[in-house]
Structure formats: structure tokens, C-alpha cells
């Protein structure tokens, strides 16, 4: 870490400042309570910590299941070099989501209650279980990286043996809770503004999570390439961008169908605060990157690819913030803007994520890929196969 940070003292200073502010905010949050540290109120019970740290955070970590599915289930082995960073991002992401939850929950010491006190009718209950299980799956998916470091070959062999079931379970769990984060808002048809409330919310959340998962893989590859003077897998990343564009296309067409079905097209042109933020989200997160990344000359160009992917990420963040905050302001009859302490905690969590990612890349075999034939059967099985075949001949 020393080496990374001492290179850029500006970033070091910024990080230090954010952590100091975050530490103070943490003190106020846990000693004086949510009222003293946040701008939350009875009219606005969910703010930045739910909207960004949890709802957005889980989405940004969707690259883990997307890439795992592409490589291990669809057998697109070309993408193998970026699986590990994607799994790492996901694992860190989910850990940070849980950390963020500890700030937001009013009674964090009772968080474990969801394990024994069941309410299967609650979307939140389902999300809680999926997040718990999927974080475990991610830990297992990521474990070979750590085990490799310590040369625990036997354990690695066992994990590799269960990789496929593990990945499939991970994809299913992700499908469930990524969409369920949208289902959370299905309960509020009268509160959430018409541009965001839709019976298709679970579907929108799922598709956009896949798109942003692809974009995040590209963005983090770029950032770590810059930080560690590493080469870039441009051809792979450009193809991942194409998957992202397709997802955005599916998303856009369903969004349009939804607005037509609900006869809500008029909302697009009302001179209202919500309208502007909706267009911002669509232009930055959907139209812009689709136009940019659909063209080969931009997609296969360093800056073009990075800009397009970054736009998807930013647009996604605006979408989740709109759904969780902007969309409720009209109903609540008042605005919400996070307090500086809410911002300090959120920024600290983000910076913590960056530092943890950098440390992991530095000390663990994340980008330097050891074995390519991870999943092919062991050599002796091949020999047996060959024997049978040659005997048959």
C-alpha cells in the first residue's frame, strides 16, 4: 500500500481526510444515533446508506456472477483472465454492502435475526438470505486465489471439483436478489414516482445489473492497468462491452414498452425535477454508452471503451439513486440530501474498497493468471480416454 499511495500524495491525502471524517461520523452514528448523524426522518426513512451503500453497491458487484456464468457455464474460456478481478470486486462489494448495512440498520446487533426469525412474505427477508448465501459462495469462488498463494493444492482441488455447482448456485442467487432489490419497491405504488415505479422493476434491476457488471469489469481493468502498469486485454474487454450494449438494448426496449403499457409516456415531457433526472439517467447510462460502444472504432479504442463503460456505471448509480431517493421526494413533499456524515461514511466505504482491491491485486495472483486449464479433467483421465479411443481404432 505504501508504494501505491506514496506515488500519488494527493490521493493519499484525500483518502486520509475521508477516513478521518468517516471515523468521526462513525462515532456520532453509534453514540448519538441516526438522528444526529443523518438527514433521515419519518418522511424519508431511507437515504444514501440504503440507496447507495446497499441498493447500488449490490448492483455494482454484479460482474462477479456475470463473468462466472460466461466463463464457467457458457464455457467462453476467452474471458478467463478477467474472472478473478470480477469475483474479487463482487466479494469486496458484498462485504462492503454488509458493512454499510451495519451503519444503516437501527439495531445492527440484531442483524442475525433474519437467520432464525423468518418471514417468507418479505422481499427483504429473501434479499437477506440471498446476500448471506451469495457472499459465502463468493468467498468459496475466490478462495483458490488465496489458497494458491499458500500452495494448499489439496483444498484447491476440492474447490475446483465443486466449481460448476458453485457457479450455478451463485448465478441463481444473484438472479434472485438482484431482481428482488427492484421488488423491494413494488410495495410502494403510490409513493414511488411514475417514471420509476413499474411492475417490471425486478426485471429492470436484473438486466441493468448485468450491464453494469460488464461495465465494472472494464473500468476496474483500466484502473488497475494504470495503477500497476499492466497491459490491457483490449479484445476481451471490447467483447464484454458488447454484452453490456446488448443488455442496455434489452433494458431500453422493455423500459419503452413499460411506459407505453402504463400510458406514462407523457411523464417524459412534464417540466418537473423528476423528468430532468430521469433523462440524465437515460442519456448518461443508456443512450450515450449504447451509441458509443456500438461502434467498433470507439469500442476498440482505449479512451472510447473506458468512457463508455464509465458512463454505464455512472448512469446506473443515478438510476438507483433516483429509484431510492428522487422518486420518493414528490410523495414525501420534501427533498432529501445526505448529511456530511452520511457522505463521509459512504465515501470511506468506497475508498476502503479501492484500497482493499489494490492490496489484493498487489499481493494475490489476481491478474497474473496461473493455470488456464482450471476446469479440464486431470491428465490421467485424458490418458484413459485416449487409451479407449486408440483401442477402438
Amino acid at each position: 500500500m505504501k508504494q501505491i499511495l506514496s506515488k500519488i500524495t494527493f490521493w493519499k491525502a484525500t483518502a486520509g481526510l475521508i477516513f478521518t471524517a468517516g471515523l468521526y461520523a462513525t462515532y456520532v452514528r453509534f453514540v448519538d444515533g441516526l438522528g444526529a448523524s443523518t438527514n433521515l426522518s419519518d418522511d424519508f426513512p431511507w437515504g444514501l446508506w440504503v440507496g447507495f451503500d446497499v441498493i447500488t453497491g449490490v448492483g455494482l458487484a454484479a460482474g462477479g456472477f456475470t463473468l462466472a456464468a460466461m466463463v464457467h457455464v457458457f464455457n467462453l474460456k476467452r474471458f478467463e483472465p478477467v474472472v478473478r478481478p470480477a469475483i474479487l470486486t463482487a466479494f469486496l462489494g458484498y462485504t462492503l454492502v454488509i458493512l454499510g448495512l451495519m451503519y444503516d440498520l437501527g439495531r445492527p446487533l440484531q442483524i442475525w435475526h433474519a437467520i432464525i426469525m423468518w418471514n417468507p412474505r418479505s422481499v427483504m427477508f429473501e434479499v437477506a438470505w440471498c446476500v448471506m448465501l451469495y457472499t459465502t459462495v463468493l468467498a468459496l469462488e475466490f478462495s483458490p486465489v488465496v489458497l494458491e498463494k499458500f500452495k494448499l493444492t489439496k483444498t484447491i482441488k476440492f474447490i475446483k471439483r465443486i466449481t460448476i455447482p458453485l457457479v450455478i448456485v451463485g448465478v441463481l442467487l444473484s438472479t434472485l436478489h438482484q431482481s428482488s432489490l427492484g421488488s423491494v419497491y413494488l410495495i410502494a405504488p403510490d409513493k414511488l414516482y411514475g417514471l420509476w415505479y413499474s411492475p417490471y422493476l425486478p426485471f429492470f434491476f436484473y438486466i441493468s445489473a448485468i450491464a453494469v457488471g460488464c461495465a465494472m469489469v472494464i473500468v476496474e481493468s483500466f484502473l488497475s492497468a494504470r495503477a500497476f502498469h499492466r497491459g490491457l486485454e483490449m479484445d476481451i474487454l471490447a467483447d464484454i462491452a458488447r454484452v453490456g450494449v446488448v443488455m442496455l438494448g434489452v433494458y431500453l426496449s422493455f423500459k419503452t414498452v413499460d411506459l407505453i403499457e402504463r400510458k406514462a409516456l407523457g411523464l417524459l415531457f412534464l417540466p418537473r425535477y423528476e423528468t430532468y433526472l430521469y433523462w440524465l439517467e437515460m442519456v448518461v447510462g443508456v443512450f450515450g454508452p449504447m451509441i458509443l460502444l456500438a461502434q467498433r472504432k470507439f469500442r476498440e479504442n482505449h479512451n472510447g471503451l473506458f468512457a463508455g463503460a464509465l458512463m454505464i456505471v455512472v448512469g446506473f448509480i443515478i438510476n438507483r439513486m433516483n429509484t431510492s431517493i428522487t422518486g420518493f421526494e414528490g410523495w414525501a413533499g420534501k427533498g432529501y440530501f445526505p448529511s456530511w456524515m452520511e457522505l463521509a461514511v459512504t465515501l470511506s466505504i468506497v475508498v476502503f474498497g479501492f484500497v482493499a482491491f489494490a492490496l489484493a491485486v498487489k499481493y494475490l495472483p489476481i491478474f497474473t493468471h496461473a493455470e488456464h486449464e482450471e476446469l479440464s479433467p486431470p491428465a490421467d483421465e485424458w490418458a484413459k480416454d485416449l487409451q479407449t479411443v486408440s483401442q477402438l481404432r
Binding site: 444515533g33 464455457n75 435475526h113 426469525m117 422481499v123 450455478i168 410495495i187 405504488p189 411492475p199
Partner: protein, 260 residues
């Protein structure tokens, strides 16, 4: 079976004396200062609209949204009607507050281990066969306690008896599937701060619609993913095997290449 209890609030009879809040605060041991907005220390309040007073409180829905959304089941709907909250289960996610269509649950924002607070429908008094403290305290009969079915009948009778006085609507009869607090009024409800466009179906149906698809997603998704893997993996295996065979053939034909 226990008859579902309810309260009928006849807005035309309310004189705004606030006796309901005073009695409520005494019953629940809350600070006795007068409050106009629902808070952790005011489970019921009077809202004034041009001389007309409207009691605001938990509506004790027939199929309560809070009960359905709570991940740990901290809310329960009792057989008699009250919707109750258990702070020992609550994890503090505040989904109940986000979801409640009447915006009733209040939070102890100043407490560093906060609870959700709201009207308890005097559940412990009901068990003893008593009526809620507010209904008992009401001097004009604006708040009347009874069985829900009886009160619905009475509400309709009152409207029928004086159709020129009342608006022809019993609020709470079918809002979000029905509530235990029913209102009749001489002023249109939308002018009194009531949400009159709430859906007729209980809100939990909306999320259940998504949740009930989980088994299908898991079953179909699981089979689909395994199937895809089975096909794509087999293809790779065959390709690799064929490559090996070609190599073997090459060798036996004497065309040995350099990378042996």
C-alpha cells in the same frame, strides 16, 4: 373465532378536544405534551382542516403492509385486530416505514438503539375486554369501538339516515384491502388529507407476485444453466479429444512435429 375489532371515527362528531391523545399518552406512559404530528411519543394526533378535525393513527390494516415487509417478522396481526410491533425482533431496516401506505410508523431517531413506534390499538386492554383508551375517553362518541362488521353496518346506516350530511363513502372499508379504523365524513376525504387513490387490493399482493416466482426461477434457471454447461463443456471436451487424436495420428504416420 374472535370477532375482528375496529373503530368507527365519525369526523362530523369530533370537536377537537384532544381527549383521545391525552388518554392515549396516559395509557402508554408517553410524555404528556400536546402534539400535532405523529411521533414516537404521539400515537394519535388531530389534524385540523378549516375547523374539521381528523384523527390520524395506525389503521390496523386487515392485511397489513408492515407485517408482510418486515424481514424478521417483528410485526404481527393479532386475531382480534391490532397490529403489533416487537422491538426484540426488529433489526431497524425501516422497510415498514418506507412501505406503510398511511405513513404511520415513527422512529426514535434520537435513540442510539431506536424502536419503531405506533398505535397498539390498546391490545392489552382489548384482551381484558376493555375498549381502547381513546374510544373510552371520547366525550362525543366520534370514536366508537366495536366489531368490524357491526361498525361497517352502522356506518352505512348513519350515511343512509342523513345522506345530505355525509359523503357516501366509508373510508377504510376497502382501502388496501380494508382497515380496522373506519371513517365517515361530511367533507370529501381528499380535502381532509386522506389518500383516496389507494389500491383496493392489499399491497402485500404486489411483492408476493414477484416472490411467488422464486421456485420457478430456481428450478428452470438451475436446469437451464446446468444444461448449457453440459452442452458447452462437452463440445470443448470433444474438440480437445479430437485435437489429441489428430496429434496421435500424425505421430503414428511418422510426421512427428517438433513439440513432442
Amino acid at each position: 373465532m374472535i370477532a375482528k375489532k375496529a373503530m368507527l371515527i365519525d369526523i362530523t362528531l369530533c370537536v377537537g378536544c384532544n381527549a383521545c391523545q391525552v388518554a392515549c399518552k396516559e395509557e402508554n406512559g408517553l410524555s404528556d405534551k400536546e402534539e400535532q404530528i405523529l411521533s414516537p411519543t404521539a400515537y394519535t394526533v388531530l389534524h385540523e382542516f378549516n375547523g374539521t378535525y381528523v384523527r390520524r393513527m395506525c389503521q390496523h390494516c386487515v392485511d397489513p403492509t408492515c407485517v408482510s415487509v418486515c424481514p424478521v417478522g417483528a410485526f404481527t396481526k393479532t386475531a382480534a385486530g391490532p397490529v403489533l410491533y416487537d422491538e426484540n425482533k426488529c433489526i431497524g431496516c425501516r422497510y415498514c416505514m418506507q412501505a406503510c401506505p398511511f405513513q404511520v410508523p415513527r422512529y426514535e431517531w434520537d435513540n442510539n438503539y431506536p424502536r419503531v413506534q405506533k398505535c397498539k390499538f390498546c391490545a392489552s386492554r382489548l384482551e381484558k375486554g376493555l375498549q381502547p383508551a381513546c374510544a373510552e375517553a371520547c366525550p362525543t362518541g366520534a370514536t366508537k369501538f366495536g366489531d368490524r362488521d357491526d361498525l361497517i353496518r352502522e356506518a352505512h346506516e348513519r350515511i343512509k339516515a342523513e345522506p345530505e350530511k355525509y359523503v357516501n363513502k366509508v373510508y377504510g372499508l376497502e382501502e388496501v384491502g380494508g382497515t380496522s379504523i373506519l371513517y365517515i365524513s361530511s367533507v370529501p376525504f381528499e380535502e381532509l388529507g386522506f389518500k383516496t387513490n389507494l389500491s383496493k387490493i392489499p399491497l402485500p399482493a404486489l411483492t408476493w407476485n414477484a416472490l411467488s416466482k422464486i421456485p420457478t426461477v430456481v428450478a428452470v434457471g438451475g436446469v437451464f444453466l446446468y444444461g448449457v454447461w453440459w452442452i458447452t463443456n462437452r463440445r470443448t471436451e470433444v474438440q480437445q479429444l479430437e485435437a489429441k487424436l489428430r496429434e496421435m495420428d500424425d505421430r503414428s504416420n511418422g510426421h512427428e512435429t517438433s513439440n513432442s
